[in-house]
């Protein structure tokens, strides 16, 4: 049962659970305008959770196993939990811009539940916890996508996302069942021993294959990516921003832990499988993004391409005498962090344009620099960083991934990454060029902007703050990225991996 001492290590999770339940009760009991209260509860909770996260991280940095080996608190989970707390806080401020009172408080509560699932997922040391956490993360997110349920596009997106997500969960459970049948344990660490003792059986590969397929759905890797553009396009923009970064990075964190911990004896096979998937994901994501005219759909394909880059890092394994060395994992942590911030920021600017022109079409970005300089400048930063232009953080992320791919002897994959990044410049830079072009339809856009009801000052300022924080971080981690990388390396070193 629960050891009281273990609870001290999960205070951040308990705080997030507390805010989620408080928001639910608040939504149920009170009436009237509760926007201020929703944002305050969520932000106060996430802030104090982040504080407790750093106070309660084990001083010696060693991994601590909790709850009979179900959960582990280590540098790896702390790295990701910090990112998720930040993302959820940005998302609730973003949501306050988009939603009126009643949907906003539901949005906030569901966001906190999803956040709790992600925080547990990156610390999961057992398949049982991993599965419960992945569902706790995913179920609220399906609802967030369909939150504007009077729009058919939103409901259609939620339905597609839910159907494929549920199918992926079923495949995951099937894979877990195989793994349990082969090894007699659900613990990730003990699974590795069981797999190793069975030698070269095809059934271990079968179990691994099912789990890779399921997690491939969750991170939107080709050929399991089909839901992504539809879900992002149909979702209300704050939900799309959160969905495109939070669950994807959390699933990537679980994937990295699973391949490095539970299926470590099969590292050679994992490298081959993931390298092929990564190459296909990078190529298809980037090529399909070129053809898009809707910015959220384009960001959907772009997020698929970035899944491919991160998978290169997971696939980068160098075989040493001591066994497999997963050299690419710290670069995946780094990339996940900076990818999340720049993609979130791009969605935040897309919303600025959406609010002005009522449109997500790329043509709505025409002349944005003239209408509103700061969002345009921030969007330029995000687009250049997503392309991988120095000195922005996206460049450093790709550089670290390339280095680990080369170290692992995956030269052809590194070349694919560089070539597809050059292709991606086409559609990212198109947005930049459009924004700084002369505005030919200036009167139309201006009148649309005039139609929109004026925002209350605090909310609009808060949204500018979201854009500023993500843009600032994207620039800062490009210049002083070494610090973040050092943290990622320490996180991986102090983990159960």
């Amino acid at each position: 049962m629960i050891e009281p001492g273990d609870l001290g290590y999960v205070v951040p999770e308990l705080i997030v659970l507390g805010t989620a339940l408080t928001l639910l009760l608040w939504a149920a009991i009170t009436r009237g305008d509760r926007r201020w209260m929703s944002v305050s509860i969520a932000l106060a909770g996430n802030g104090s959770a982040a504080l407790m996260l750093f106070m309660r991280t084990p001083a010696d940095g060693a991994a601590v196993e909790l709850f009979a080996g179900q959960l582990v608190v280590d540098g790896y989970s702390t790295f990701f939990r910090t990112l998720f707390l930040l993302l959820a806080s940005l998302a609730i401020v973003f949501g306050a811009q988009r939603f009126p009172s009643a949907p906003l408080i539901d949005f906030a509560a569901l966001l906190q539940f999803s956040l709790l699932g992600m925080m547990l997922l990156v610390g999961a040391a057992d398949w049982a916890t991993a599965f419960i956490a992945i569902e706790t993360m995913a179920i609220p997110v399906y609802v967030l996508v369909g939150l504007t349920r009077f729009r058919r596009a939103s409901l259609e997106a939620a339905m597609k996302y839910f159907a494929l997500g549920a199918f992926a969960s079923a495949v995951l459970v099937y894979g877990i069942a195989w793994s349990y049948g082969l090894t007699g344990t659900t613990s990730l660490a003990e699974t590795a021993d069981g797999i190793a003792s069975r030698g070269d059986e095809p059934w271990s590969l079968f179990a691994l294959g099912l789990i890779l397929v399921a997690l491939g759905f969750k991170v939107a890797a080709v050929p399991f990516h089909a839901w992504t553009p539809d879900a992002y396009q149909g979702a209300p923009t704050p939900a799309a921003a959160f969905v495109s970064v939070g669950p994807k990075v959390a699933a990537m964190a679980l994937l990295a832990r699973v391949v490095t911990l539970a299926f470590e004896p099969l590292a050679a096979n994992i490298t081959v499988a993931l390298a092929v998937i990564a190459a296909a994901t990078m190529i298809l994501g980037n090529l399909a993004a070129i053809a898009q005219s809707d910015v959220k759909r384009m960001l959907g394909y772009s997020s698929i391409a970035h899944t491919g880059y991160m998978l290169v890092g997971v696939a980068a394994v160098s075989q040493t005498d001591a066994g497999a060395d997963f050299v690419g994992v710290p670069s995946v942590l780094f990339y996940g962090f900076v990818y999340a911030l720049m993609t979130f920021g791009a969605f935040a600017v897309a919303y600025v344009v959406e609010a002005q022109t009522d449109s997500n079409d790329l043509s709505a970005f025409r002349g944005l620099a003239r209408r509103s300089m700061l969002p345009a400048a921030a969007m330029a930063v995000f687009m250049l960083s997503l392309t991988g232009v120095p000195p922005l953080s996206g460049f450093l992320g790709k550089l670290y991934i390339l280095q680990s791919a080369v170290d692992a002897g995956l030269g052809w994959l590194a070349v694919t990454l560089v070539v597809t990044s050059v292709v991606s410049a086409f559609y990212y830079l198109r947005v930049v060029v459009l924004m700084f072009m002369e505005d030919e339809d200036a009167p139309a856009a201006a009148s649309a902007a005039a139609d929109a009801p004026a925002a209350s000052g605090a909310v609009a300022d808060a949204h500018s703050a979201v854009v500023a924080v993500t843009a600032g971080a994207t620039v800062a981690f490009g210049i002083v990225g070494g610090g973040l990388l050092a943290w990622a390396q320490a996180a991986v070193a102090s983990s159960l991996l």
């Binding site: 049962m1 629960i2 639910l24 009979a68 080996g69 179900q70 959960l71 988009r98 009126p100 009643a102 949907p103 539901d106 509560a109 569901l110 539940f113 999803s114 709790l116 699932g117 547990l120 057992d126 049982a128 916890t129 599965f131 419960i132 706790t136 179920i139 609220p140 609802v143 369909g146 939150l147 349920r149 009077f150 729009r151 058919r152 596009a153 939620a158 349990y180 049948g181 082969l182 069981g194 539809d230 396009q233 149909g234 923009t237 809707d294 759909r297 600025v352 959406e354 609010a355 009522d358 449109s359 079409d361 902007a449 929109a452 009801p453 004026a454 925002a455 209350s456 909310v459 609009a460």
Partner: protein
């Protein structure tokens, strides 16, 4: 599975009946009859669990699947207007997915069921039959596992169920007039969106901002 005549008889009855009911389920035209056949399948699968010594799983199967899930299916059918079902041309596109899946399950059945004794012996589990009967039964074994090793997922399940309840209410609750009023520019946008392109148009048309961020 105990090796005695009653168990073998039960097994062959369950096998024949569940296969027959499954075939019936996918071949009848009326979806309600299909759902009823599904109940029959579920009951017989519960029978397999029972003769394999997992009484709790058998009860769970009946309570959750035959009870709640099939009710959910029937209520979903009730929301569709079955009198005006479009006359679909019978296509077999699902075979592309169905045949590989069926082959996969067949291979699994052959490996586990008819495989060599070594293969069957090598399938591991934390609760071999001896341990289960020592503890007093499958439900007791589950209780021991749940409240010693898996307490965190047990509590996590309540969080997950809470999130699912809230999600269902948020999505399926009636749309109140004031909710529409909160999004003034969307009131007119109820045009149908079919396919990606028109969905994109509806999206653009319906993407109404409540405030402009200036």
């Amino acid at each position: 599975m105990p090796d005695n005549i009653e168990t073998h008889l039960a097994f062959w009855y369950l096998a024949a009946a569940s296969v027959a009911a499954s075939l019936l389920m996918v071949s009848v035209r009326n979806p309600v009859h299909s759902a009823i056949s599904l109940v029959v399948v579920i009951f017989h699968v519960a029978g397999f669990f029972a003769i394999l010594g997992s009484g709790f799983l058998a009860v769970a199967q009946i309570a959750i699947y035959a009870g709640a899930i099939v009710v959910l299916f029937l209520f979903t059918l009730m929301m569709l207007d079955l009198r005006h079902l479009p006359e679909e041309r019978v296509t077999h596109r699902q075979l592309w997915l169905g045949i590989p899946l069926a082959l996969l399950l067949a291979v699994e059945a052959v490996v586990i069921g008819a495989g060599t004794p070594e293969v069957r012996e090598s399938i591991k589990g934390a609760f071999p039959p001896a341990t289960v009967s020592e503890l007093g039964g499958s439900a007791e074994a589950l209780a021991v596992a749940l409240f010693n090793d898996y307490t965190l997922p047990f509590l996590g399940a309540s969080v997950m169920l809470t999130a699912a309840t809230v999600g269902a209410i948020v999505l399926a609750r009636r749309i109140e007039e004031h909710e529409r009023a909160d999004f003034p520019r969307q009131r007119a946008q109820t045009s149908a969106a079919n396919g990606a392109d028109s969905a994109a148009q509806a999206e653009q048309a319906a993407q109404a901002a409540q405030e402009s961020p200036r």
